[in-house]
Symmetry: C2
Subunit: 86 residues, 2 copies
């Protein structure tokens, strides 16, 4: 079993109005030292080891569903979950 964490954020070239709005709100809450805020999506997935290349599978899931590759970029972390006695 694999534990996969995926982080999806806007590409640098894309305006992030949500991030700007949150930064403004934080400033109003006396957190003036917040210089920049980027907002993104975060996925945690558990994937059974089926013998296929896990990186290829995760890349496919991101390219086809989890991220809009025209506007977003993604990175992920894969860790092997402890073997569960079946």
């Amino acid at each position: 079993m694999y534990n996969v964490k995926v982080y999806v954020t806007y590409k640098k070239s894309i305006l992030d109005p949500q991030g700007e709005a949150i930064k403004t709100a934080l400033h109003r809450m006396e957190h003036q030292d917040v210089m920049q805020v980027t907002v993104g999506k975060y996925f945690e997935m558990q994937i059974k080891d089926n013998g296929q290349n896990i990186d290829e599978q995760v890349n496919k899931m991101c390219d086809e569903l989890l991220a809009n590759v025209n506007m977003e970029t993604y990175r992920y972390e894969i860790t092997e979950a402890a073997k569960v006695e079946e």
Copy 2:
């Protein structure tokens, strides 16, 4: 300057329909080995070092704005950004 990454996800007790919907979609895309999907929010922030305790500041930002503490839980990572010569 601090680089702060915040991960906000639903509490275990809260139903995650979005996660279920994504799992179903992944199964339809022949990724049947995806056992579980959790969806959350991800924030990257740059915060100037103002001498105050950074953990306290980030906790306050999360409790008051970034997370709905009734339904969500959060964790964060703080790293010191390289000093910029001013």
